[in-house]
């Protein structure tokens, strides 16, 4: 690689990327809330570290899928005097999430056909 920067998340998306996009599709969230929502959605299976999470946010931001957002009106906007940074999904991000979901769906269909799921023989 001659260029040292990561421009776009690779497709297929990593589980963590996918989950982050997924929780942001629901509503705008700040860092800690994203982490908790991802953990809840995945039943604890996906639990990114703090450094990893923010690198993902940075990567998704530079891909134009996620952007910084103002705090929702009902939520506290500050944390210990610092403005709390919220993130939201961009239309491009929503599209990417949709694309990835379709891809997963087709994979899932394939798995069902081959009876890998729901008690099918191996």
């Amino acid at each position: 690689m001659s260029e040292g920067r990561e421009r776009e998340p690779a497709a297929p998306l990593s589980a963590t990327d996918y989950h982050v996009l997924m929780v942001l599709a629901e509503r705008d969230l700040y860092g800690y809330a994203i982490m908790k929502a991802v953990e809840a959605d995945s039943g604890g299976a996906v639990s990114p570290g703090i450094g990893s999470l923010y690198r993902i946010l940075a990567r998704l931001s530079s891909a134009g899928w996620v952007e910084e957002a103002p705090a929702p009106s009902e939520a506290p906007t500050e944390h210990r005097g610092h403005p709390r940074q919220y993130y939201r999904l961009t239309p491009a991000g929503r599209q990417a999430l949709r694309d990835e979901s379709r891809r997963l769906e087709s994979v899932l269909r394939l798995a069902r056909e081959r009876k890998l799921l729901a008690g099918g023989s191996p």
């Binding site: 920067r5 570290g49 450094g51």
Partner: protein, 899 residues
């Protein structure tokens, strides 16, 4: 979130490039704070797990971000591999340019990493590595649970437990003895395992040559043996025809049928295994056998324990007072082998960790000083377009190169250190033969090196890159000053070093005090100026019957002739004999009966009946057989009555001597002399003893163990207990030089009696060896830490003095006294030291508690030790500050002003 955790996270955040931090730092801190609170509620262990995961994640993510940024400053160009290569080359070049700096740094890191690695290699081999058997986690040791503790198994209880239990795939009993084994006329002592059937199933050991011992051979106690591979090579010349060379031991000729692979020796060091005599000890109260088992697949230790306790209850109900067993105790085999040394090893590993922290602090200080000296260079590079991230990366790489070099040196030192460690070790460390530098140890050294690099790099890069370019260039190298923050970090690090050093010194001080106090304890017997001979005379056939008669009589002859010969050696003034020498761990103990008339008990059944009818007659003591010469030779004082003398010939009533504590505890307020004792249960001789004297107490189990109430029977009248192994003690002028003469005498009298000749001083000294080992090691760590701390203080004060040389010059020029200047420098140094001492004392107060088990006669919080160490450290530190202080007063004003 606590301030400490916030500080730590701040450091971790430094792993990321400044651009990333600027954009996401606040959010990351907030997230960390929320996660911290969340985990704190779950308990300390979970919190520690969270911190470890977070640290790893931050370091890895930060490094990734530096290598492949998701956030970049505009204009970043070259690929990361190019930059890494450049940085590495640059680091190598700069270090070569300052060899002194590089040497000191690498040496310091090498010491720190080496110490930690050496200790880790011991901990890894002894505590962490699984035992060298198939599925070793399923191996379990079993004991009879008896009132007040646990005990070896009796034959019948073992058999019942084995047959009734379903929790085990295999259970076996064994005994082990260091026994003379003769091969082709050559006799040497070998550790022989007497094992029951299924022993090899428990360990799943298959012979590399030949076969196992068959069930039939076990059932009949056939004279066959499996030998260890090393024994087969060294003693049997690796002869593949196993049956060709029989081995002789204990009057028996054994045919070798199999060779067990090396590394699977159990019990440790065993060279020969033979079937245990199936007829021996058909009893429920003779605790003669060790028991091992292999848990059946899917059975947990807990489940096995439940089953065993039910079996024990059953047996107790069935046999009542005929069995001592009230429970079955089960523990993992590994735990049983190494549990006793775990605290000591972990303490020493912890101490090595403290030393590593001191070394890191020292090197960080050096790097910061150098960073300060290189500010101009840094500023120039920044001015010509090097990004801050790039510069920070450069420092990280430099730290990495230094740490890896230090790690490599550390590995070399560890390899040497482990050898030295094992040489120093008193032979009581289990699995010592498995210790060595191996892959996990290499990984550890590498891991520690990387970790060190990360800490050094993060601390130094953030400091150095923070300076403002203009300010530095404007100064144009006029002064070597660093920023105020750098100064603060350096002071902080110095105090940290002092604190850690203090902890190590306090630990070493406490161990030293324990050692001194213990050395001052009177054991109740002489501790030097004697020669001790441990001899083993087999009780049966191995002796040439024509030469010395048969069996016990023969044994007695050998012993008597030997004693006579030794008495005749030049300078020997006294020869004593006993069945169990102090500190040998060979003694046995048991219950005795106090009789009202000598003929009250006429057989063993009567003994048992009386004991059950009238338990108030029972007493308990260490059982010894000794000669009058023994008390004289060992300087065990006669307190009352008399020792054995000519009246006590073999036909006369048997005489006994008791120790003071036995007399006092068994007959409080009465005179023990004249009491009649029945102790036939120990040697099968039902003739009663009459107490004729009281002697001083002896600490037979070591200086730190209280003296046991002890009973001594007369060796002349009750020689049966002297069968097998016994000890002779020789005193007289220059007796310690008589070793060769003693060996010659033994060869003459009984050529195939193996003897071990040692000076009493050696025996006594090795009883303190484990304590000495911990003390020497902790002391060495403390000493190195002091050296590092002193150089650290010296470095920082020198640096501060150099920084202010202009100020000193001006003040001197304006007439300030030299004493004032010295005082000012010393006060500056003292502030660092006092801060360190205060923090260190607090840490030591908490940390030395783990030492409690290793201490003797001194509390873990002993105030005098703390004060002495604090004073010593302060004094040494002041001395280290004085040198640069004195230099400050010699500043030439003219020169300093012009700089």
């Amino acid at each position: 979130m606590s301030r400490v955790s916030g500080f730590v996270f701040g450091l971790l955040l430094r792993a990321f490039p400044a651009e990333f931090r600027a954009r996401y730092g606040a959010g990351m801190r907030e997230t960390f704070a929320a996660r911290w609170e969340e985990h704190r509620a779950l308990g300390l262990l979970r919190l520690a797990g969270f911190m470890t995961r977070t640290a790893a994640d931050m370091l890895v993510s930060g490094l990734r971000e530096r290598v492949r940024p998701t956030v970049t400053a505009p204009g970043a160009g070259a690929g990361w591999t190019d930059r890494l290569g450049q940085d590495l080359r640059f680091a190598g070049r700069t270090l070569r340019k300052s060899p002194g700096f590089a040497t000191v740094t690498i040496l310091t890191l090498g010491l720190g990493i080496g110490g930690a690695t050496a200790l880790f290699s011991v901990v890894e081999a002894v505590l962490l590595r699984p035992l060298p058997f198939d599925e070793p986690e399923r191996l379990v040791r079993l004991w009879e649970g008896v009132e007040g503790g646990r005990s070896s198994f009796s034959t019948l209880n073992f058999r019942d437990v084995r047959d009734r239990s379903r929790s085990f795939e295999a259970v076996a009993s064994y005994g082990v003895a260091s026994t003379p084994v003769s091969v082709g006329g050559q006799v040497s002592r070998v550790s022989v395992g007497f094992v029951s059937e299924a022993f090899f199933d428990v360990f799943r050991v298959e012979p590399v040559l030949g076969r196992r011992i068959t069930s039939e051979e076990f059932a009949t106690g056939a004279p066959v043996a499996v030998v260890a591979e090393s024994f087969w090579r060294s003693r049997l010349g690796a002869d593949p025809n196993l049956g060709a060379t029989p081995i002789r031991s204990g009057g028996q000729v054994y045919t070798v049928v199999g060779v067990a692979p090396d590394g699977t020796a159990f019990p440790r060091g065993a060279g020969v295994w033979t079937p245990r005599d199936p007829q021996v000890g058909e009893s429920r109260t003779g605790h003669n056998w060790q028991v091992v088992g292999r848990l059946a697949p899917g059975v947990t230790l807990e489940a096995a324990r439940t089953e065993l306790s039910a079996i024990a209850a059953e047996l107790e109900q069935q046999y009542g007072d005929d069995t001592d067993m009230v429970a079955v105790v089960a523990a993992p085999l590994l735990e049983q082998m190494v549990g006793s040394v775990r605290p000591m090893l972990l303490i020493l590993l912890g101490a090595a960790g403290f030393l590593l922290v001191v070394a890191c602090a020292n090197v960080t200080n050096l790097l910061l000083a150098r960073g300060a000296a290189r500010r101009t260079e840094v500023a120039v590079r920044q001015a010509v377009g090097a990004g801050r991230g790039r510069l920070a990366g450069q420092f990280l790489i430099e730290a990495l190169v230094l740490s890896l070099a230090g790690g490599a040196l550390g590995l070399v030192l560890a390899t040497l250190g482990v050898d030295a460690l094992l040489a120093l070790e008193p032979g009581q460390l289990p699995r010592a033969d498995e210790v060595g530098v191996n892959l996990p140890v290499l990984a550890f050294a590498l891991g520690v090196s990387f970790f060190t690099a990360a800490v050094l790099g993060l601390l130094t890069s953030s400091r150095t890159a923070d300076d403002e370019v203009h300010a530095v260039l404007a100064e144009s190298g006029r002064s070597r000053a660093g920023g105020a923050r750098t100064r603060r970090v350096r002071s902080l690090l110095t105090s940290l070093q002092v604190a850690m050093t203090l902890v190590l010194l306090v630990g070493a001080g406490l161990l030293a005090q324990s050692f001194l106090r213990l050395s001052a304890v009177d054991p109740g017997y002489r501790t030097s100026g004697a020669l001790v001979i441990d001899a083993y005379v087999p009780s049966s056939r191995s002796f040439d019957p024509d030469a010395v008669g048969e069996d016990a009589r023969g044994v007695a002859r050998v012993r008597d002739v030997l004693v006579e010969r030794l008495r005749g050696l030049p300078g020997v003034s006294e020869v004593g004999i006993t069945n169990a020498f102090p500190l040998s761990g060979r003694g046995s103990n048991g219950g005795f009966l106090v009789l009202e008339r000598p003929d009250e008990v006429t057989d063993i059944e009567g003994f048992i009946r009386l004991a059950q009818e009238d338990p108030a007659r029972l007493g308990n003591a260490e059982y010894r057989i000794a000669s009058t010469g023994y008390f004289r030779a060992m300087d065990i004082p006669l307190v009352r009555g008399r020792l054995f003398d000519a009246r006590d010939e073999p036909g006369a009533p048997h005489a006994a001597v008791v120790s003071e504590s036995l007399a006092e505890s068994r007959w409080p307020g009465e005179d023990a002399i004249g009491k009649i004792i029945q102790y036939g249960n120990m040697d099968g001789d039902i003739r009663p003893y009459t107490v004729v004297g009281v002697v001083g107490d002896t600490r037979d189990d070591g200086l730190d163990a209280e003296p046991n109430p002890t009973f001594y029977g007369n060796a002349l009248q009750r020689p049966a207990s002297l069968r097998g192994t016994f000890s002779l003690v020789l005193v007289g002028a220059d007796v310690e030089r008589l070793g060769p003469a003693v060996q010659a005498a033994v060869r003459d009298v009984a050529p195939d009696v193996p003897v071990q000749v040692r000076t009493l001083e050696d025996i006594f000294s090795s009883s303190l060896a484990q304590r000495r080992f911990s003390l020497v090691l902790l002391g060495a760590f403390a000493l190195v830490a002091v050296l590092l701390a002193v150089t650290g203080i010296y470095g920082v004060i020198s640096y501060l003095v150099a920084q202010r040389s202009r100020e000193w010059a001006i003040r001197l020029a304006f007439g300030a006294g030299r004493v004032d200047i010295v005082r000012q420098v010393l006060v500056g140094g003292l502030a660092l030291v006092v801060a360190g001492v205060v923090v260190g004392s607090a840490v030591a107060l908490a940390a030395t508690r783990v030492l409690e088990g290793l201490l003797y006669g001194v509390a873990a919080t002993d105030a005098s030790t703390f004060i002495a160490v604090a004073l010593l450290l302060t004094a040494v530190s002041l001395l280290a500050s004085y040198v640069p202080a004195a230099r400050a007063t010699r500043v030439d004003p003219a020169l300093a002003m012009r700089e």
